[in-house]
């Protein structure tokens, strides 16, 4: 089957700084990829290029047969297929949880109000916060907010879900509830590209783990192999650092 996301020799520079260095990647439908690597290694930039939040300088990115290109005007089509969950949730503070989940479908997909509400409600149930539907983000805990953000992304009926460190801004006791929702999502066969340092999650759901450093993908391996034999010193160092922190 043809991959749903393809990146070929993608470069991204900010001034003299090369943030993505000839990154190539193929993600099959239903595949779950975890991206990890030190801070500043280009993970956020990588996922943001896939839905065109960041424009890449060279190379090609194709999502579901559509080339990601601002110049060619394909971004609206791409964003109907790719949804994203952010580290800082980025919920709309002036809208209730439910409205956060209906605004995208209503405006971008042209779905009717009643239908958008019904499916948003179903999604809030799926992330286990239906009782918070009419609260504003400020009235919710971090974990709850991130689950609303996941519901908001799912409301776009995407083919690919991007997660950029979805649990990094959360207090430890709330990480679990968000990861659980993500594991359930994985069980439905959703294609997921997840930037995270939650190695337990990676071990459990990832088909492949990408290790990035200095804008390059240094290793792309199934979790068993990645954890057993990190290919580079950097990865080994990174892993021992992360795992030590997890143990603590």
């Amino acid at each position: 089957m043809s991959p749903v996301v393809t990146m070929r020799a993608v470069n991204k520079r900010y001034g003299p700084l090369t943030v993505l260095d000839r990154v190539s990647l193929e993600v099959a439908r239903g595949e779950r990829i975890v991206v990890c690597g030190p801070s500043g290694s280009g993970k956020s930039t990588l996922v943001s290029c896939i839905n065109g939040l960041v424009d890449h300088d060279e190379g090609r990115i194709v999502v579901d047969g559509i080339e990601v290109s601002r110049a060619a005007g394909t971004l609206p089509a791409v964003r109907k297929r790719v949804a994203m969950v952010f580290q800082q949730f980025n919920l709309f503070p002036h809208l209730t949880a439910l409205e956060n989940c209906t605004v995208g479908p209503e405006l971008a997909l042209g779905i009717g109000k009643a239908e958008a509400r019904a499916s948003a409600m179903a999604l809030l149930e799926r992330v286990r916060i239906p009782e918070q539907a009419h609260k504003y983000p400020a009235q919710l805990s971090g974990g709850q907010q991130q689950r609303v953000a996941i519901a908001r992304a799912l409301a776009m009926r995407p083919q690919v879900m991007l997660f950029d460190e979805p649990t990094s801004a959360l207090d430890p006791e709330m990480i679990r509830e968000v990861l659980d929702v993500m594991v359930e999502l994985a069980d439905t066969g959703m294609t997921m590209i997840v930037v995270t340092h939650e190695m337990g999650f990676a071990r459990e759901v990832a088909h492949r783990i990408l290790f990035m450093d200095f804008g390059r993908v240094l290793q792309d391996a199934p979790p068993e192999r990645f954890f057993a034999a990190p290919a580079t010193d950097r990865a080994r160092e990174f892993l021992s650092h992360i795992l030590r922190k997890d143990a603590a």
């Binding site: 964003r79 952010f86 971008a108 983000p137 805990s141 974990g143």
Partner: protein, 370 residues
Amino acid sequence: MAAGLAAAASLPRPPPVLARRRFGFAAGLFDTWPNALVTLLLVWLLIRIGIAMWDWAIVRGVWEAETAEQCARTGGMCWAFLADRWRLILFGPYPYAQQWRPALAMVLFALLLGASLAPALWAERRSRLALGIAWPVTIAAIAALLWGGVLGLPAVPSRLWGGLPLTMILASVGVSGAFVLAILLALGRRSDMPVIRAICTGFIEFFRGVPLVALLFLASVLFPYFVPPDWTMDVLLRAQIAFALFFAAYMAEAIRGGLQAIPRGQYAACESLGLTYWQAQRRIILPQALRTVIPSLVNIFIAAFKDTSLVVIISMIDLLGAANASTAEAKWWGLYIEPYLFVALIYLAICAVMSAYSRGLERRLGLGER
């Protein structure tokens, strides 16, 4: 991981809400010796001023008088003058027998505005629709009342409009026009497109840098020199446009401040949901930005309302101009306090309503604030 599901089911506490410290009404008035002293001094002053006002307006007030001279005999307030002249002050040169028309127009406008400003009415689809119909209908009715020439009403040209209705027209049309323009200018000044950014920046800097008086002068006196001679434009409309452009520049900067306070993540979220630029602005960005700048916008609204009085320099007779004109007749020469106090209280009352409304709105919209 399945065990985690149970853990997730027990929901975390909602974030704590910091209780605001509450003070009693008299807190801080008498808690220390110096505070008590200042309090007593101020109370004494207020009482003295109150007594003096009472004495001037009521005890020595003159109700029966034909001229300013007769009024002057007690040194008190000349109620007789106000009784004689209040309609001139309120309606300016508008034909005396027709003054019920602007009066009715103002009542209609106040009702419309009052209804539109009730936040409860925005939420309901049906009432929004009703408002959407009420606005054009009422505006048309007001225009028909003021201009006349229809339904058997004698025509009254706009140069005869004056007093409070003129002030309210200048302020409300000017401010609403300015508001719409200001949003576009603020967005334009933050645009990615250099040409649009330059145009908006230039516009704002120009109209902010030129005194309003100069703009009004330009609009009324110099305008005819700049356009073909067969081009005529109502002087009221020209003044109106000058106001709108001037205040748009100020409001645009206030709104830009609000836009700058919106975190980048909000834009990223809008983009990732596939919202277009205008969808994102209308539903996500502007509602948040405008809410944060309500205080400074109201500040500008109030300033604009009062600055409409500058139209006197292009010989339009607004509320303040009418107060000025009310003593022009020889028999009321020499009276100053009464007419100006009268219009000052009207200005004050309207501005007080505006700020009370904005405080209520802020409180209401505070809900859901981050």
